[in-house]
Assembly symmetry: C2
């Protein structure tokens, strides 16, 4: 006898939690499609040679290699032929380069699949997790206008997920680079190190950061440090304030001017799409991956749960697939790490176990009446109502209890008495209402109740 168990670092859910998770996946997918993104799925296994184009990436990414029984037996030294994807960006790059001539550009795709990382086992860290990505990929060029659509998608997704008030925070890497260069921090590595120090503002205080940055390791001028510290604390609370912050940056160098112009255009179009001003903001401290993103960058945070960190991030990049094609493929995209988000929301008590996918339980009082119950269930199903039938009778009370525990909303009883009178008894477990519907009008009655529920 072998102990049944999953490997460490994976999230496996009981059915009612799986339903809640699936509803989040569906909501994200529906909204991605609403904005015209097309579905793509790629194989979980990629050729190692294709997946691991950068030396060192293999260790960094803690890649899982895959070998069939046969390959394992023959295994020499060297890298196994296959590996599991560690994100959806590299497979996207490979996909777009491979199918370049069959795709229309700008290419808008969404992809929602699991990815794999050999992380150290730790609470809240997953070795298998869902990423839900969208990207728009241009050929040769891609207007900054596309950057403005992304916050609208984020807004639609998180509004419908209804997990609380959130803010979409925007910055621009060019603006940031220009600003730092003007303060004598031109080297990208140095910028990264300065940003890391500035990140400690909240924990260590302004004096500590000022001392560090003017001190030996950095040697920045005191007024440059003050300017940087003021800069990274900029947050807007309205559209007009965001624009005013951009205006206040003045003329500066070319990178700064470009970044300001891009961010301004993005903000104006975001407003044109009808996003409420309270739901987006400038935040000059957001950097994301310094070596990857080159323009607009996004983070999204839950206002009441800042400790959760960014729940949806991304940005604009210069060239998607330089390892695979000579074509220049600039893009902009975001990713939602849903497994981790779901786990965090559960920890914070923000998602519960949902109602069942089953709408109606048809009870059984007498095995001889089963054909009638089955016919009733067939009608309900034909009416678009998800229906389970009790196939082996137990006490009626037990059947009601089962429906209640399973999160099934309606229980239908078609006993001898009901059959004789041509009615069905229906109990709505959500509010406890019990009523009779004529046998022929039963489906409409349940449909009407369900429609009411949605309208609430």
């Amino acid at each position: 006898m072998i102990k049944p168990r999953t490997p460490p670092g994976v999230m496996e859910l009981l059915p009612r939690d799986q339903i809640a998770f699936q509803r989040m996946l569906d909501t994200i997918r529906r909204n991605y499609e609403r904005f015209g993104f097309l579905p793509v799925e790629t194989p979980v296994m990629e050729l190692s040679e294709v997946l691991l184009t950068k030396s060192g990436g293999e260790t960094e990414r803690q890649v899982y290699f895959v070998q069939s029984t046969g390959a394992l037996e023959k295994a020499g030294e060297g890298m196994p032929e296959l590996a599991l994807r560690f994100d959806l960006t590299v497979p996207l790059a490979r996909y777009v380069a491979e199918h370049e001539h069959d795709l229309a550009f700008p290419f808008r795709r969404y992809q929602m699949q699991r990815v794999y990382r050999g992380e150290r086992a730790q609470r809240g860290r997953f070795r298998e997790f869902y990423q839900c990505d969208i990207d728009v990929i241009g050929k040769d060029s891609l207007s900054v206008r596309y950057d403005a659509e992304i916050p609208a998608v984020i807004h639609a997704v998180f509004s419908e997920l209804a997990i609380g008030k959130f803010t979409i925070q925007l910055n621009n890497r060019k603006l940031m680079r220009g600003f730092f260069e003007d303060r004598g921090v031109a080297d990208p590595d140095l910028q990264a190190r300065v940003l890391r120090e500035v990140d400690k503002l909240d924990k260590r205080g302004a004096d500590y950061v000022r001392e560090t940055l003017t001190g030996e390791g950095f040697g920045l001028a005191a007024d440059a440090v003050d300017a940087i510290m003021a800069f990274v604390q900029v947050r807007s609370t309205s559209h007009a304030e965001a624009i005013a912050h951009l205006d206040a940056l003045g003329d500066g160098n070319e990178a700064l001017r470009e970044g300001v112009a891009e961010l301004r255009e993005v903000l104006e179009l975001v407003r044109a799409m009808g996003l409420p001003e309270a739901d987006y903001a400038l935040n000059f401290s957001i950097a994301r991956g310094l070596d990857y993103y080159t323009g607009t960058v996004y983070e999204t945070t839950l206002d009441d749960y800042p400790q959760i960190g960014s729940i949806c991030s991304g940005g604009r990049y210069e060239n998607l697939a330089s390892h695979y094609t000579k074509s220049k493929l600039p893009g902009v995209g975001i990713s939602i790490g849903l497994t981790r988000l779901f786990w965090q929301l559960r920890e914070a008590g923000l998602v519960g176990t949902g109602e069942s996918t089953v709408d109606v339980l048809v009870t059984q009082m007498d095995a001889d009446a089963l054909p009638q119950s089955l016919a009733l269930a067939s009608e309900l199903r034909a009416g678009g109502i998800d229906t389970e039938v009790v196939m082996e009778a137990s006490k009626l009370g037990k059947q009601f209890k089962y429906a209640d525990r399973a999160g099934i909303r309606f229980v239908a009883v078609l006993g001898e008495d009901e059959a004789a009178r041509g009615v069905v008894t229906i109990k709505d477990l959500r509010d406890g209402d019990q009523f009779e519907a004529p046998r022929a009008g039963m489906v409409a009655a349940v449909q009407a109740r369900m429609a009411q529920g949605e309208a609430r």
Copy 2:
């Protein structure tokens, strides 16, 4: 520069094919839920020790093993710790045994995920493919009535998939075993060998099969062979005929009697659920996995494409998880191998590339008018209409051509002229109709057209 390519034996689709595939997945899921099955997802990786409970299974199943970079470096001899699932049945057994005390029985679950097999690379053979399974698992016992629900689910799925006329074929392993035992073929291995010979009836003819089975290797009596050959050719064409075939089997031994009784009950309940008589049939030649299934067995075939073989198969089994728990867990279930089915349907020209998920393309004539286009798109999206906006203007003709190629049904034009008159021009590319809608009634106009389309 690395050549972008997928590993052999995987199916990767372009977006419009992916949409067609996704719609099939959605249809299957919707119908599984309609019958009260609950979603389950399991990790793609299982502990090898848990996954490979039977000796020899590893080679048979051509398992893929998984090792992280770290594990690979340390790898000694022995079996790697992790492996990819090769079906959804073993993970189900592990899941039910692991979560036994948190599940309600009979446990009805559906699972639609990819599985992995290190098959020899070959046209139409896949190393990664979707399985879409349902199972009902009982604790200690499970009424044969559940076996009757399965054909109803199959019927709902394939009716809605609309890939042509199909027949759900039923048999019962007990009935089959009983029949063979009465003809002196009691040994299960011998039964299997006899069935393999009988399978050659179509190709080699009755004389060949009769000679083989009465000959040296088998030594069966001539009348037994005739009875067997008649038996495996039984097909019913109506409910009454199916019942008559069961009656004609007479009294026989206990296994035969039990099998007949079970099949009779299944057929009666299948009829009670409203399945058309033409869509299900007895077929005494169906055996499925002889060592796994113990009662009802199912196969489903497309009437006009018999060469595709069974598109949905399964049956009743005695005990799901004997390797993991002492509880007896009988079950009944089916599986649809969707990747292979999709491939076959495409080869047969039965699925085309579908319409896009995008319903409306909002064109652009002038960059200055983009805010108005974006506002229009926001309204369409709020009305549940999937909408793409042209963000960078090109010639209008080119934008129409793009929509046509992409399979987008509606094109919306909001030019200077339209804006001045407070209207939007809409072209329905499905029938070529072009009409104007008042700006305020635009969403309703598109919704009405879409609803018409569905009603057809």
